[in-house]
Amino acid sequence: MRFLAVTLAVARKDIRSELRGRELLPALAQFVVLALIIANFAFDLDLVDGPRLSPGILWLVLVFAGLVSFGRAFAAEKDTGSLEAMLLTPAGAAAIFSGKALSAAAMLVACEAVLLPAMAVFLGSPISPLVVATVLVATVGMAAVGCLFAALAAQTRARELLLPVLALPIWVPFVVVGGRAVQVAMSGQSLAALPLAGQPLLVLADFDILFLVVATLAARYVLDD
């Protein structure tokens, strides 16, 4: 119970400071829109190519927006020295980490709330409930690992460089399974034909549980000096 209380308190602190300062979200939303503009001209999209390439563009933009969002989560704390202050309190490192991951995931969800409608408008991507569900379920696990490596990279000299190098390979399973699910959903096929064990949403939920456990266990070693 205490763990949950600390987690929620840390997440609430982050979200409140974001709502007051508006440091990250406007820039992230702008980044997402710019990425779609570049995708449009780089791929020379039309009615045929737009929906066909949409799953790839979706995951590319999502992954890079995630890197920016998770990188900021710990960089800001490190710059002001407030991470050390939080670790001095009786709250456990794992609970603090969970709170940071929760708020970073909330930022990325806000970012997705811009990305998905923008894709529907600019690229004509068919955004179905299955696409939304896939992206949301994948966000949980990606946030867990992303924040773990963001906390790790924040303690090194080259954090902007190190975070993508560490997080991207670990995110590959999410992109493989989530990418497949979005491809199926956007092409209008149904997932009902797949066996239960192959349902992408269930597989992604498995990844979420696994990476949440791993990241929370490892957080103690990453945050404690």
């Binding site: 773990l148 790790l152 000299r157 560490l166 399973p173 493989v176 990241a215 070693y221």
Partner: protein, 237 residues
């Protein structure tokens, strides 16, 4: 000097073992009826892959030993094994490419199967592991952070493998460890096991040499720190 002599002896043994492996590959094993001489790449390819996975398992073990019991030898083992593992992963890739050129004819749809993708991810993760060591504050922080990367990275590889396999896969299935016994002529199986054993031994020797280098480097750094302390101590007086 005795430790260096031991390493020289071990290295000589590795050279001899690799010579035996070369004999079993080129002279003992029969020619493949379909693929011809190209098939002989298979022996070293499988051996290198086994050595790479073995090295990364040692990185995992070293990381656990460090995080759990704060054993510095665990960290040193991780450093040595990660580097050797990267070399053998690269070797596996290069040999696989040479084999795939005539057999798969560079079809990009065939290069993203489960084993290739997970091996590529493995390579990137351990390259990241070495990068963490370079960019983190030297000493305990670097050891702690690298151990976390080594452990989480190792856990990721089977997941990548199965998530791509769930999709589709084109890499030849297991031919040595298959239900109903190996699907190869007995001479080929013998050559494969001889080569794998030789390459594993070679990897072990390389890790031992690298471990020795890392241990000497740690000693030198400790001496430098001690000298610095002495210097600042005498100037304070």
């Amino acid at each position: 000097m005795t430790e260096n002599n031991k390493l020289f002896t071990l290295s000589a043994g590795a050279v001899a073992a690799m010579a035996v492996a070369a004999w079993s590959i080129f002279l003992y094993a029969p020619q493949d009826a379909l693929e011809g001489p190209v098939q002989r790449i298979f022996y070293l390819h499988v051996g290198s892959a086994a050595a790479a996975f073995g090295s990364f398992a040692l990185v995992l073990a070293g990381g656990v030993a460090y995080l759990w019991k704060e054993r510095v030898w665990g960290d040193r083992l991780g450093r040595a094994a990660a580097l050797v593992g990267l070399v053998f992963t690269t070797n596996t890739f290069v040999l696989g490419m040479i084999w795939a050129k005539p057999i798969w004819n560079w079809d990009p749809s065939q290069t993203w199967d489960a084993r290739l993708t997970s091996t590529a991810v493995l390579w990137v993760i351990y390259a990241g592991y070495l990068l963490v060591r370079r960019y983190a504050t030297p000493g305990r922080p670097a050891m702690r952070l690298a151990a976390v990367v080594g452990i989480v990275g190792f856990a990721d590889v089977p997941i990548v493998y199965f998530s791509v396999q769930w999709w589709r896969t084109l890499h030849p299935g297991p031919v040595l460890v298959a239900p109903g016994g190996p699907q190869l002529p007995a001479e080929m199986v013998v050559a494969a096991f001889v080569t794998t054993a030789a390459v594993l031994y070679l990897a072990g020797v390389l890790i031992a040499i690298r471990y020795r280098i890392e241990a000497r480097r740690d000693e030198r750094e400790e001496r430098a720190v001690a000298a610095q302390l002495e210097l600042s101590g005498s100037s304070a007086r």
